[in-house]
Each structure stands twice: as C-alpha cells, then as structure tokens.
Amino acid sequence: MNTHPMKLVTIVCEAYALEPVKKLLREVGAQGWTHFTVEGAGAGGERTGEMKEFANVQIEIVLQPTAAQALLARVEGELFPRYGMIAFESDVRVMRSGKF
C-alpha cells in the first residue's frame, strides 16, 4: 500500500464565512472538501448553533503542500479581518495522491 505526504487544512469559522471560504478553495485549486456544522466557544463567545447567526462550521481540505500554503496565506489576508475563524494545517498521508 502506497501513501503520499499531503497537508490537511482545517478551518473552523462562523457559518456565514462558509461561502467565502469555499470561493477561496476553488481559487487555490482544491479538488474537494468536507464541511460540517459544529458547536463550541471562542473569542466570539459561546457558539450554540441554534440558528445560523450563532452557528459554526468546520471545513477540512486535503491539499498539496504548496496549495495549502497559498490557501492559508489568503485566509489570513482576506478572511481573518472579516470573520470569526481559526485555521491550521497538519501533515497527513493519503492514498491516490492524484486526487489532490
């Protein structure tokens, strides 16, 4: 079984930031992503998720390391000033590297 090094970028943001994040993902060439509704707390206080205004989403994207760098740089420059969100990357190993 062959596995290949990739980056997993995780973004946790307010629900309203989902569309802008997805737009960035398309622009940096991400081939696919997964997002789900989450609850929690942070600088914006309790995120209880009972309506969209108070809901968070978590977005996970597996990318080539260069694309991950490009994505994180643009998230920092374009989205951090506007939306409540955090972003981080981690090393993962994937099967079928051509999918990313």
Partner: protein, 326 residues
C-alpha cells in the same frame, strides 16, 4: 385604561406566554434547546403559511386595492435607515459601518413579529386586511440595500477597503431564504385563491397557533441567551431598541391611515415599521458588510426590540391606531 387591557390581552396569549417561558429557560440556564433543523423547519412552516394566506387574500381583494399601500410601505422601509443612521452615528457615536448595519435591520422587518400581531388582532376580534402580508414581503429588502450602501459609503470615507460586493447584498436581500419563501408562497396563494386555500387549510391554518407557540418558545430561549450581550451594547442601544420602534410604529400607523387602510391594517403597518429583522438582514449584512459588529445589530434586534414588540409594542401600536382613527 384601555392600553393596559390591550397589553394584558396580549401578554396572556399562548404565543407570548411560551416566549416568556423560553426567556425563563435561558435565564435559569435550563438545558432546553431546539436543534437547528427544527428552528429552520418551523421558520419555513410559518413563512409559507403566512405567505400563502396573504396571497389568497390579495386574490380576493384584487391587486388594485393592494398596490398603493404596499408601495408606501416599501418607501417607508427604505426611508427608515436614512433617519436611524444619523441617530446611531452621531447620537450613539457608533462607527459608520455599525450604524448602517443596525439601520438596515430596523428598516427591514420581522415576519414573526408581524405574525404575532395578526394573531393578537384575531384573538381580540379586531378585523384587519389579510393582504397586509404583501407589505411584509415588500418591506424586507429595500432597507437592507439602503443600509449596505450607507455602510459602503462609511467604509470608503475611513479608507477601509471592502471587496464584499453590493451584488452579494442584492442577492441575499432578494433571494435569501425568508424573502424567497414568503414571496414564493404569496405568489402561490395568489394563483390558487380560495379553492387552493380549502385544500391546504387543515395543514397551514388549523395547527398555525401551535406552531407559532413552539417557535416563540425557541425564540425566547435564543433571545434569553443574548441577555448577557446587553452589557456589551450599552445604554444607548438599549434605549434605541425601544424608543425607535415606538416612533417608527407610530409613523407606520399614520402612513396606513393616509393610504386608506382600515384600523387593523394600519396597526399591522405600524408593527412592520417598528420591527427589526433578525433573519434576512443579519444574513445579508454579514455577507456584504462583514466589517460591522454582529453583536450590536443582533442584540438590539433580537434581545431588545423583538421581545419589546412581542409583549408591549403590538398593543401599543393598536392603541396608537385607535387614537388616530377616533
């Protein structure tokens, strides 16, 4: 004191009592919580039910009767941000973009406040024009657009660049879930007319009161959870969130009278003018004016104005109408 009787009649309705119960649940930190899909489901039901009923009413009354007061309602909605903006900007010393965001919310309308008002009028046997739902539909978008333009102008002045486009706001204001469902159901109701109403009545009319009570219980919880934010927004917005709705409400009632509505319809126009949006406007503003602080506009519309209108505001606007129609 007629007004006290009117307020009492409103406070003792199931819908308002469930709202208060929700507030109590939040304040006592009860673990009561509705899942988000239920909240969305109840919203969809209420908007379709009220839209459909309004559409049927328009088909009964005829468009000729509806267009003039509806146009006036639309203009009023667009004008409200123009006087609330300077009040917030210079009276409240708020940053321009926050003032614009809040002004957009107060010019736009709250469908649930409107629904609660029709419920109240029905409960006290006060007749009203059922086609008033059309005013609800046309008042939602204009103020949001005016508010976004004001916000963009304020940002340009301070040199903060913003690439979130006005187009996003237009799209959100016209096709966001609440306005889309409401206008859609209005058109469907208009096309179906009374025969169509007979078919869906058991689903959209009979259980309506119960669904509204359930929804307001949830809204009580949501509003109650924001009470802590009242300290963050300060006394100016607290006063603003109560006094501005009263002034706008009176303006709405007056406009209703001038455009030939009956007492009930004028009361509803007053309720609409006084109410602040918390579904359509927050979504549109967050997308197109992300620089504005959501705590300010959400707390004032959801935790101050909405509870005020649901409990005291609605009977007050009815009393204003009664005085004007004497």
């Amino acid at each position: 004191m007629e007004i006290l009787t009117a307020i009492q009649a409103n406070l003792l309705s199931p819908a308002v009592l469930f709202f208060v119960l929700g507030l109590v649940a939040a304040l006592t930190k009860s673990d009561l919580k509705f899942p988000e899909p239920l909240y969305v489901g109840l919203t969809i039901y209420l908007l379709i039910a009220i839209g459909f009923k309004g559409g049927v009413a328009i088909s009964e009354a005829g468009l000729a009767k509806v267009w003039f007061p509806a146009l006036a309602a639309m203009v009023l909605g667009a004008l409200i941000p123009l006087w609330t903006y300077p009040l917030l900007r210079f009276g409240g010393k708020l940053p321009g973009v926050d003032a614009a965001a809040i002004a957009a919310h107060y010019g736009s309308v709250s469908a649930v406040t409107f629904i609660a008002a029709t419920n109240y009028l029905k409960a006290i046997d006060q007749p009203y024009e059922s086609y008033a739902t059309a005013f609800l539909a046309v008042m939602e978008a204009p103020a949001i657009l005016v508010g976004v333009v004001l916000g963009k102008m304020a940002l340009k002045k301070t040199g903060e660049s913003s690439n979130a486009s006005l187009r996003t706001a237009v799209h959100e204001a016209l096709f966001g879930r609440s306005i889309f469902l409401l206008v859609g159901a209005l058109v469907v109701g208009f096309l179906c007319g009374e025969p169509g109403m007979k078919k869906v009545e058991p689903f959209f009319v009979t259980p309506f009161q119960g669904v509204l009570a359930l929804f307001l219980l949830e809204m009580g919880v949501v509003a109650g959870r924001r009470v802590g934010d009242l300290r963050k927004v300060g006394p100016f917005l607290l006063g603003f969130g109560i006094l501005v709705p009263i002034v706008n409400g009176a303006l709405g009632v007056l406009l209703g009278k001038l455009t030939g509505l009956e007492l009930g319809g004028a009361t509803l126009l007053g309720v609409l003018a006084s109410s602040a949006s918390y579904i359509a406007a927050p979504a549109a503003i967050r997308m197109s004016l992300p620089e504005a602080n959501p705590t300010l506009y959400l707390t004032s519309s959801l935790a101050i104005t909405f509870p005020f209108n649901i409990t005291l505001g609605i009977p007050i606007y009815l009393e204003v109408a009664r005085v004007l129609y004497r």
